[in-house]
Structures are given as structure tokens and as C-alpha cells.
Symmetry: C2
Subunit: 339 residues, 2 copies
């Protein structure tokens, strides 16, 4: 299964394969600074897996017209660095010890360094973008950093609130995930010399892909395999974060009285005592069982399928070329994505 997925990714990335390694080389230029341990830190985050899907999106979106070869590579490096910076800070604030089977920066070097190194990588990404000399692209990039941070802030302040709407959820996952997908494609298209309507089409395509990407993540958290996920099933709910499956459950409210709401029941237990942990596990089981029994998993999959279909529709405007085929395949790939 993993090999099959790798093959598919390989064929999606084929039109930009050579340039993806130039992106990697560009990112590595950061390590030649005079800062102690910078090589080790950078090496650690760059070798922690990750499919560079955002960088590929920038490069593929730049492929439709002839253009300066260097600018999309710089941009893809910046987009990938920005993504890495957000992971460093997210792991720090979430107290995550592991990511993709490797220890996190905050786990190995402490939160102090994780915050500062994250800042450094954020700033490096913003400095990279300046090498495009395109103020529109530079501004979109900075706005995206604001959107990413605001998405995380909104998630935090809405924790343990069992009254969130689907609209609020959509806004939140746009900010924390889809916004960077949008910017990856939009800036690639701008620097690739695409006309404005096609820039917007690629942005909309990436918006749909990004939303689908986060929805898959959120669905895997509910129905995935704890071993494959590298974290417990229901991890979001355990931390008070509502995602689409739990919001759908709240929308249906198949319980007799408000006091039977199983999500509210779960959110009552937030402590670290053995009793609280046991109660939490039990209530979580109850929520997960309801989500499965009521067919919510299938309903979520339908929503994801909708985003992937719309992503493909956005491509209609674009000229046919190998990048077109890759983006189209990427949309179907999203449906089958696993960790």
C-alpha cells in the first residue's frame, strides 16, 4: 500500500522532479549560517519526512507558461520553510514529543529553542520570498503567516466549546491549512506568468485541495489506526478540539435531552488523575461509537469527495500539459490519502 502511494506521488511530481531537488538545495543554504547547532536543527526538521506537497503545488502551478525558472523554486522553498516553521511551533504549543515517528525539536532541544528556531525559520521563509522581487507575492506570503497563526489561535480559544458551527470549522481549517495551499498555488501561478483568471483558478483549486487535506486528517483522527497515526484515535476530541465528524454529531443531536450530549459529557473530564483519564476514555468511546453508528464517517467522506471534485472543476480553464495531469491526479489522490 505504501509503495503504491509512493508510486502515485512519484508520477504526480514527475513534471517538477528535478526542480524539487533544487528546492531542497535552496532550503539547505540556510545551514551555512554562523549560528551554533543550526546545521543539526535544520537537518533534523528536513529529514523528518513530509512529502513536500506544498512545494510541489507551487512548482506545478508555475508550469503552464514559460517563465523565469528560478523564482518558483525560491517560492517553493519559502512555502516549505513556512510549513516547517508552523510545525515546529505547533509541536511546541501542543507539547508533542513525536512527529512522524521522530522526536520533535521541542522534545530534543526544549521549548526555549523550539520557539526561537521556529521564529528563525519563519523569518528565513519571509526573506527567501524577497528574492522573487514581486511585492504581490511577498504580501500574500506575510498575510498567509497571519492566517496560519490566527487559525491556531482561534482553535485554541474555541477548545471545549460544544457549540461550534460548520462555518466556524471551515473558517478555522481554511486558516490553519488551506490558506498555505492557496498561497502555494497562487504565487506559483503568478511567478509562472499565468493570466489572472488562471491564477484565480489555481488558487481555487488549491483551496479545495487544502480543505480536503485537513478534512482527511480530521477524519483519520476519528477512524484511523492508532499505530499508523502515531497518536491515539480521537486525539482532537481528547484535547477539546471539535472537527467535522463531531460537529456533524452535534448537528444531529440524536440524544433525548441536552444533558445526554456525549461531547459535553466528554469535555467535563480534563484532569490528569487516573479517574479523569478513565472517564475521558470511556466518554470518548461513546462519542466515537455514535459517530460510526450514525454513518457520519461516510457523510464526511462525501464532503471530502465534494472538495476533490470541485478542485478538478477549477482546472477546466487551464491549458493541458503534464502539470495539468499531475494536479488532476493529486485531486483524486487526496481521496485515498493515508498517513
Amino acid at each position: 500500500m505504501v509503495n503504491e502511494l509512493e508510486d502515485r506521488i512519484g508520477s504526480i511530481y514527475a513534471p517538477v522532479k528535478g526542480r524539487l531537488s533544487l528546492v531542497e538545495r535552496r532550503i539547505r543554504t540556510l545551514s551555512s549560517s554562523n549560528i551554533p547547532n543550526m546545521d543539526t536543527l535544520l537537518d533534523h526538521v528536513l529529514s523528518s519526512g513530509g512529502k513536500r506537497v506544498r512545494a510541489a503545488l507551487t512548482l506545478l502551478s508555475s508550469e503552464f507558461y514559460t517563465h523565469d525558472e528560478d523564482y518558483p523554486i525560491i517560492m517553493a522553498a519559502a512555502v516549505e520553510l513556512l510549513h516547517l516553521a508552523t510545525l515546529i511551533h505547533d509541536d511546541t504549543v501542543d507539547n508533542s514529543d513525536m512527529r512522524r515517528g521522530k522526536a520533535t525539536v521541542s522534545n530534543l532541544w526544549g521549548k526555549h529553542i523550539a520557539v526561537l528556531f521556529g521564529d528563525y525559520v519563519f523569518a528565513a521563509s519571509a526573506t527567501f520570498v524577497c528574492d522573487t522581487y514581486n511585492v504581490r507575492v511577498i504580501r500574500r506570503f506575510s498575510e498567509t503567516i497571519m492566517e496560519l497563526a490566527s487559525g491556531e489561535i482561534i482553535e485554541y480559544f474555541n477548545c471545549y466549546d460544544p457549540t461550534q458551527s460548520r462555518e466556524a470549522y471551515n473558517d478555522r481549517i481554511y486558516r490553519k491549512t488551506a490558506s498555505l495551499f492557496c498561497t502555494a498555488a497562487e504565487t506559483g501561478a503568478i511567478l509562472g506568468g499565468a493570466p489572472e483568471d488562471q491564477i484565480q483558478a489555481l488558487r481555487s483549486y488549491a483551496h479545495n485541495i487544502g480543505m480536503a487535506f485537513q478534512l482527511v486528517d480530521d477524519l483519520l483522527d476519528i477512524e484511523g489506526d492508532a499505530g499508523e497515526l502515531g497518536k491515539p484515535v480521537g486525539n482532537d476530541l481528547l484535547h477539546g478540539v471539535l472537527t467535522l465528524p463531531s460537529i456533524m454529531l452535534l448537528e444531529r443531536s440524536p440524544w433525548k435531552s441536552p444533558s445526554d450530549n456525549p461531547i459535553e459529557a466528554l469535555f467535563k473530564y480534563r484532569g490528569d488523575s487516573l479517574d479523569e483519564v478513565n472517564q475521558r476514555e470511556e466518554k470518548l468511546e461513546c462519542v466515537l461509537e455514535m459517530i460510526t453508528r450514525l454513518g457520519i464517517i461516510d457523510e464526511c467522506s462525501e464532503v471530502i469527495r465534494g472538495y476533490c471534485t470541485r478542485a478538478n472543476e477549477c482546472l477546466a480553464l487551464l491549458p493541458r500539459c503534464p502539470a495539468y495531469d499531475s494536479l488532476s491526479t493529486l485531486a483524486s489522490f487526496m481521496l485515498d490519502r493515508t498517513k
Copy 2:
């Protein structure tokens, strides 16, 4: 004394007073976002005192030639926001509960929000700069964020190392403090339409002012009054951070054998037990007494005086105008600065 200082700052800021309030208004536009608690958070950091010296430096540096009025205001707002973002993250990583007599963001809202809100303010500052439409200025700004973060990283990795050179110290305080002073003045001068040699002169002026600013801070930490400082005397040394006074002491090494080195003796005690704390206090006393007895305080003051003199010399190239007088007065003011 405080009133006298306030009067002097008032006269230094006089040529740009009206525009400094426009800077404040510009920063406040951030609060009109859809993010929960953003108003409260922003209000908290903006009302936490601070003399807006970096913003004033940008505005004063833009005053020598006729120019678009709006760009230096945007730039000054960005510079001040960047400074605020660094304070939010510094307080978070340093576990500081108070700053200028007010509770810090991490103290009131927790580290989670402090990291994310700091990220948001960093990104907002970078977005503001894009409104100058000047790629040179935008790039300097991003590079400065890298310098600021790297200064903090270097300080962290060099903690408790009693072999640091004066050159390493100078590099560190350039990164963590003087770099933003340089950028504040340089970008003000660029956006103010100054010719290149005067841009460089204003940058050098600000470099000297910034170095003096940090040196004063570091000296106050050694000889200041704990009540006025709002933190214990010798706080840097207690956290393993060497500054110029302790580096000068190491350079002189007035002890009989290396094992008598009082700074190494101090750095042995890092624990939280009562005995460790007592030992640390006692060893710190010994270091502070030596620094005072050997005339190191005066020697440091001489170094600061040197920076202020060189700052004034940098101004020679610039045309006389009220901003010139303010910058010149600011250089003398640095010598008398207290918290």
C-alpha cells in the same frame, strides 16, 4: 528624575510627535480582525509602556528630505510591532511573569497563546512593511527578524560558557538589539528619500545607539537597583548569561589559579534547591563585588560613551534640521538612560 527624563524624550520626539500618534493608530488597525480576544491581547501589549524609541528612530531618519508622508509611518508601525513580537516570545522562553510592572502575555494567557500571538504579531509586522512597496526595505526587515531570532539562539547556546570573547558578545548584542535599531533608521532613511551615503550614515548612527542601548541594559543589570529594575541585580549572570562586565572580569582574571574563577564557581550552582540558591547568591555577590572593586563599571561606561560619541560623529554628513538635533540629543540621552 523621571519627569526630567520624560521632558528630554518629549523634546527629542518633538519633530515627529504628530506622526508617532499616527503610528499608534496604524498599529491599532490590527485589532479589527475576527480573532477572539485579539483586542484584549493587543491592548495589553500596547499599553505595557515602552517609549517607542525604534519607531521614533524610523520617523526621525525619514525627516531629512521631502518624501511620501505615509511610508515612514507604516514602517515605524512595523518596526514597533516587530519589537513587541520579540518581547512576547522572549518573555515566553524566559518564563518572565512581569515586564515593566505588568503581567506578561504568557503569564496571563499561557505559553500556548503567547507563542501563537507572537507569531501573529511577527507576521502582521511583515505584512505592514509590504505597504511600503519597497523590496529593499521589505528584505531588510525579514533579515532583521532572522538576526533577532539568531541573537537569542546564540545567547541560549552560549549560556554558562565562561570562555566567551568580547567579539562574540558584540556580535550577539548586535543581533538581538542593534540590528533592529539599524533597520529602523536605515528603512526610515530609504523611505525618506535620503541619498545612499546618508542612508549608510543613519544606519551606522543607529548601530552605535543600539549597541549603547543594550550595553546600558547589561550594565544596569549589574549595578542597578533591584526595585527600579523590577528584577534581581545580576539576573543575567544568575541565568548563565555573560555580558560585558563579566567578560571584562574574565579578561582580567585577577585570581591566583583557574580554579578560583568566581564566574565558573557561580555557574556550578544551577539547581532549585535551597542550598543551590544560597550558594548561587553567595557566589554572585563575590562576582559583583569584584566587578565593582576593579573599576569595571567605569570601564563599561567608557565603552558606552565611545558608542554615543561615534553615533554623533555619524551624523556629521547629514543636513541640519530639527530631526538632526533630536538624533544628536538622543545620543547623549543614551548615556543617562535609566529604566
